[in-house]
Symmetry: C2
Subunit: 191 residues, 2 copies
DNA sequence: GCAGAAATTTGACTCAAGTCAAATAATCAC
DNA sequence: GTGATTATTTGACTTGAGTCAAATTTCTGC
């Protein structure tokens, strides 16, 4: 696990029991079936979705083509930041790639607890910080690496994505065509 | 000005005078000469730099090539998020492109005020949220637009960048070669 | 186990954008 | 102003990655 995420988790676990109790009042669990959507364009994203079991992804459509921006596994948080923060309709889908179980952290309840306890506000801020830095790195990958380098980096940093997901989705995450990804893989295999 | 940034500014102005006074104790102004660096790789970024006068940019080097990630004008905040948040050595330069005057917001002082006043923590969080969403949009531009479309979008969203900066820097911001940018411009001019 | 569907690979061709080199144009120092 | 330096444009060529089409492999349900 990323050390910053680990720090956020540790701090969360050490919160005052009183606060934890209040927080959990705003959590509830929900199951989604494979291929169903947790969020669609046009909806406002009013919660954070903490993945308990299964795999999900976020993607958007551009000229009929799907572009996957994130893949979520156990303990990852799925959210359309843009929609959640700006309180405007989302332009992305969040989709269950398998049977999925999530904990839903509702905005309004969470917001109240944050305003009361600055420790919670701080944890929320740390989560966004992590997100911002993650985006910065991902942008850098697109600016500096070609298709095969991006694939190798993914293999190194997120092997689960490569192992568990179909080529279509891996390709859309790397922003290359199916065919190119297939060629990259065969070239690597033949080395 | 972006509406979310406007909201942050309005809220800042409406802070309790007591808080404002404490905050300003941690601010100080500094001048930089053209082509000097406000931050270099290896240094830890321990402050936010609020531009009062002049233009600056952030860039990194990749295989000898400079890649400009952001350009800062009056009222923009320059910071290496990665270094500032993770408290680790930066891998970017922040450079004065003109004579430059900035207000330096020191980490440790700012941190103290944030822990005391949750309104300030909240404003800081809003700033990061803005940053994260900005990065998300910029990433999307690289994933969906070709070189000329990126140029046209920059012209539309940040005309000052195109008007005030040399082609070298505009090209490195769009992540295209000098020559390609030059060809894009001549093609657009001849329409 | 087999037919049909879906996913993946391979081939042939195209094109956006890069590189290297040379030519202009703009800017600066004196 | 003039020559020198720097910035920008133009030309010729190369290449990474896309598209469309066909072949092959893998996965289904029955």
């Amino acid at each position: 696990m990323n050390p910053y995420i680990k720090r956020i988790k540790d701090l969360s676990n050490r919160l005052d029991p009183q606060i934890l109790a209040e927080l959990e009042g705003g959590f509830f669990d929900k199951k989604f079936s494979k291929e169903s959507y947790l969020l669609r364009p046009g909806q406002i994203c009013t919660s954070h979705l903490l993945v308990k079991e299964g795999v999900a992804r976020k993607f958007y459509k551009h000229n009929e083509k799907e572009i996957t921006t994130e893949v979520y596994f156990h303990d990852d948080v799925a959210v359309s930041l843009d929609s959640y923060i700006m309180r405007k309709p989302a332009d992305v889908y969040i989709e269950a790639l398998t049977e999925l179980e999530v904990t839903i952290i509702d905005y309004s309840k969470f917001h109240k607890v944050k305003s009361t306890y600055s420790e919670v506000m701080m944890l929320d801020k740390m989560f966004i910080e992590y997100y911002a830095v993650w985006f910065e790195h991902r942008l850098k990958e697109f600016q500096t690496l070609d298709a095969s380098q991006r694939y190798l980096k993914l293999l190194e940093k997120e092997p689960k994505v490569v192992q568990l997901l179909p080529v279509t989705i891996i390709a859309s995450y790397l922003n290359v065509s199916l065919e190119t990804l297939s060629r990259i893989r065969s070239k690597i295999a033949s080395r």
